[in-house]
């Protein structure tokens, strides 16, 4: 009876990336089971992907058909570089990463880190965006083959595959590292600052690039393209053209550059993966022992909402406020709003402007107008409000507490809007200040703030409906960028729908800015504020009714399936 359960010396079969790929395919397939609408959304996603892929293909292949080697270099280096940059940044800002295979699930399996990383990497390659990018960059192969013959084509094909690997490795490494950073409470503020700095740098960088494009002739640009071709951003995409131009020696060098980069990224990823698997960062509640002050109620209400009455509405607002800061997923969204909110308007308003003076070139000359300003503000307001499109999904099954307490829908939505606004309204104010300051037109502050408030308000109203009717569950991982496999497309569609709807509803502000001239400078702020507030209240009123009727259904849609 006391015979030990020994591990027999059986041959352990090695685990290859193939297993991960098959697992991912199986999970994706099971997600579709019995869910017709998911299949439909997937098909739509594939079609959209193909559409963009076809566009990219033409862009990359065109220089080959036109027999223009110089444009080919530029398309390869700049286009490819933008691709890599996009894979690096877009998951952080908009889309999140597909975490169909959550690394934490593998924590107990006897897998070496190397096996795990290569396996997850291989699984990450199985996705619609990767497929679409592959189709698009196939244009480079065509281009190289037309310019340099079959050998160049084959080398370009190799480069393109390596380039796609680079894209995926970059996106994985960056999101994973960033997630780890946000999870650790100690460095989260640092992360916010870091992002803000990056965003602050993007604006001026944009100006420099634009100025360069404007002044530089094509030869200079080709020169820049060739330099980019020697960085990891452009290296894999340009080797086919190097062969075509008779520089075969460059091929192995560039491949080594790319391979080293991919290796470094995977190494980086595997480092942060480990902490994602064991959740090391969150297990250190260092300040846990600080004695709480005051009664339970006093502890619940943060200082920023000290004005709220101690009733149901106040409790909802206070809890939401705490959550926007304490929940890594929500905090990541707030940071995104702050970053994009600053840098998009700066880009739009200064980007279109000509620059007086050659030295610093910060003085806008003419082009920015109240209309352009309103449009860019519209975008920021809409983007801020779209964060609430899945506000109940953030809560997950915890929303059950509100269902059990029979919280009226209107109260619930009003409170959620209020709590979010506690964070967003000051941000919008700062955005308006900065943008009118940067433009050197302080009198435009009202126009900016008015457009922001109006679009934010109508956005809140529309997202009130979307959050009640189109909620979906988020996986219960600590990675704020993780999404359930298969729901990604649904999410993007809903987000798009909500953004288009909100933007359309706020268009009157732009029209007014165009038609009313100077009088609008003073009217915009009160009118925009009233319009936004009215829309938000109306939205909460109407959507609250819907919420009252389908609270249990909402709860089951936001509860993650296990």
């Amino acid at each position: 009876m006391a015979v030990p359960v020994s591990t027999p010396a059986e041959r352990v079969r090695p685990v290859s990336p193939r297993h991960f790929v098959r697992l991912k395919l199986r999970v994706m397939g099971n997600n579709f089971r019995g869910q017709g609408w998911r299949i439909a959304l997937f098909v739509v996603g594939v079609l959209v992907g193909l559409w963009f892929a076809a566009g990219g293909f033409l862009m990359f292949a065109a220089p080959g058909f036109a027999d223009e080697p110089r444009y080919a270099v530029m398309a390869a280096a700049f286009g490819g570089g933008v691709l890599v940059l996009g894979w690096l940044l877009l998951p952080l800002v908009f889309f999140g990463v597909d975490e169909t295979l959550d690394p934490a699930r593998f924590a107990l399996l006897p897998l070496s880190r190397r096996t795990l990383v290569t396996g997850l990497f291989a699984a990450a390659l199985i996705s619609v965006p990767v497929f679409a990018v592959l189709v698009a960059v196939a244009g480079l192969v065509v281009s190289a083959a037309l310019l340099g013959g079959a050998v160049a084509g084959i080398v370009a094909a190799l480069g393109v595959v390596v380039g796609v690997l680079l894209c995926v490795a970059a996106s994985r490494a960056v999101t994973s590292a960033f997630a780890t950073m946000l999870r650790s409470r100690r460095v989260r503020d640092l992360a916010a600052v870091l992002l803000a700095v990056v965003a602050a740098l993007l604006g001026p960088l944009q100006l420099v690039v634009l100025a360069a494009v404007r002044s530089a002739d094509w030869d200079r640009l080709v020169g820049v393209a060739r330099i980019v071709g020697w960085t990891p951003f452009g290296a894999p995409w340009t080797i086919g053209l190097d062969v075509a131009e008779g520089r075969a020696w460059a091929v192995p060098v560039k491949l080594i550059i790319t391979a080293v980069t991919i290796g470094a990224l995977l190494l980086w990823w595997s480092r942060s993966l480990e902490s994602a698997m064991v959740g090391a960062a969150s297990a250190a509640p260092t300040k846990a022992r600080r004695a709480p002050t005051g009664g339970a109620i006093a502890q619940l209400f943060p200082r920023a909402v000290g004005w709220a009455r101690r009733d149901r509405f106040g409790a909802l607002v206070a809890r939401e406020c705490r959550y926007w800061w304490r929940d890594a997923r929500r905090r990541a969204n707030l940071i995104t709003i702050a970053v994009v909110g600053i840098f998009v308007p700066v880009m739009v308003n200064l980007g279109g402007a000509g620059f007086a003076g050659g030295e610093e070139g910060f003085e806008a000359a003419g082009d920015p107008s109240p209309v352009l300003l309103s449009i860019s503000m519209l975008f920021v307001g809409v983007l801020a409000s779209v964060t609430l499109a899945n506000q109940f999904g953030f809560d997950g099954s915890a929303y059950a507490a509100n269902v059990v307490a029979a919280v009226p829908g209107r109260l619930e939505l009003r409170a959620r809007m209020t709590a979010f606004s506690v964070y967003v309204l000051p941000m919008l104010g700062i955005v308006s200040l900065i943008i009118s300051g940067v433009l050197g037109r302080p009198e435009w502050f009202g126009v900016a703030a008015g457009a922001l408030l109006a679009s934010y308000g109508v956005g809140l109203a529309i997202n009130g409906f979307i959050s009640v009717l189109g909620a979906y569950s988020l996986p219960e991982t600590s990675n704020p960028f993780a999404m359930n496999g298969g729901s990604g497309i649904a999410k993007s569609m809903l987000t798009l729908l909500s953004m288009v709807g909100s933007a359309a509803a706020a268009v009157p502000m732009v029209v007014a800015a165009g038609l009313l001239g100077d009088g609008w400078l003073w009217l915009s702020l009160p009118v925009g504020a009233a319009y936004g507030l009215g829309a938000a209240l109306l939205g909460a009123y109407l959507a609250g009714d819907v919420l009252d009727r389908r609270m249990p259904e909402l709860l089951s849609t936001v509860t993650p399936r296990r």
Binding site: A288, A291, G314, A406
Partner: protein, 254 residues
């Protein structure tokens, strides 16, 4: 009112998930003042039944009443009388224990002063005061159960519905929870809870119902259901489990 109506009445509750029957028509009458155990193996439909009974999951068919108030027709009044601790549902766990209690109290429309006083008392009795500013997400499993119970008790409900209150709870916490529930029933409250731990049910309950495959197989007072045998024997017989022959899994004892 309490005299005329059972504390919880279910009639014909049924639910399917994707064509798979989870609960196939459950009728139940829980007398006021009883300590009612809902027994069943994993996957029997206990959680589904209780979720439908408290208004968390809309039933395909059937009705539920809390002290005569229709849970699905008049949810506000029914939910006012009801305290719930669901299982497999997260709390708003990025709050501290005290914050969570304050939230639940205010959400139930209670007076802030009363909330403060009761929250302090509950945290003290449940030995959670030491947790201080630790977030509920960092609590141990037993502490989470205790704070969940505190949230359900805070507004002084007449009926307490608990899903697996003793799951993953250490003996000390379990004894504490048992004690509190016992006092609650003596004080005139009604408790309905699900479990598959026979000892706890035998020790606490005045009434039991055995649920398997989505239907009630046995129901009545503990004595009626148990008869002369142990509750475990009855349960295994009703559910129809298999007994090990010793032949299978031979490789385990190498």
């Amino acid at each position: 009112m309490t005299g005329e109506h059972p504390a919880l009445a279910l009639r014909g509750l049924a639910k399917q998930f994707d064509g798979k029957v989870a609960v196939a028509g459950v009728d139940l009458a829980v007398p006021a003042g009883s300590f009612y155990g809902l027994l069943g193996p994993n996957g029997a439909g206990k959680t589904t039944t209780l979720s439908m009974a408290v208004g968390l999951l809309r039933p395909d068919h059937g009705h539920a009443w809390v002290l005569g108030h229709d849970v699905w027709g008049d949810p506000v009044e029914a939910k006012r009388l009801l305290g719930v601790m669901p299982d497999g549902v997260r709390l708003f766990d990025r709050l501290t224990g005290a914050e969570l209690l304050a939230y639940h109290g205010l959400l139930r429309g209670m007076d802030p002063a009363v909330v403060d006083q009761r929250a302090a008392e509950l945290l003290d009795v449940l030995a959670l005061t030491d947790a201080g500013r630790t977030l509920v997400v960092d609590y141990s499993a037993g502490m989470k159960k205790k704070i969940g119970l505190a949230c359900a008790l805070l507004h002084g409900p007449r009926l307490l519905v608990l899903d697996e209150p003793f799951e993953a709870v250490d003996p000390v916490s379990a004894a504490l929870i048992r004690d509190i529930l016992h006092r609650y029933v003596v004080g005139g409250g009604t408790v309905v809870f699900s479990s598959h731990v026979m000892e706890v049910v035998e020790r606490l309950c005045s009434h039991v119902a055995i649920l398997a495959d989505g239907t009630i197989k046995r129901v009545g007072t503990l004595a009626e259901v148990r008869g002369e045998r142990s509750l475990e024997d009855v349960f295994v017989e009703v559910v129809g489990g298999r007994t090990a022959t010793g032949e299978e899994l031979a490789w385990l004892s190498r």
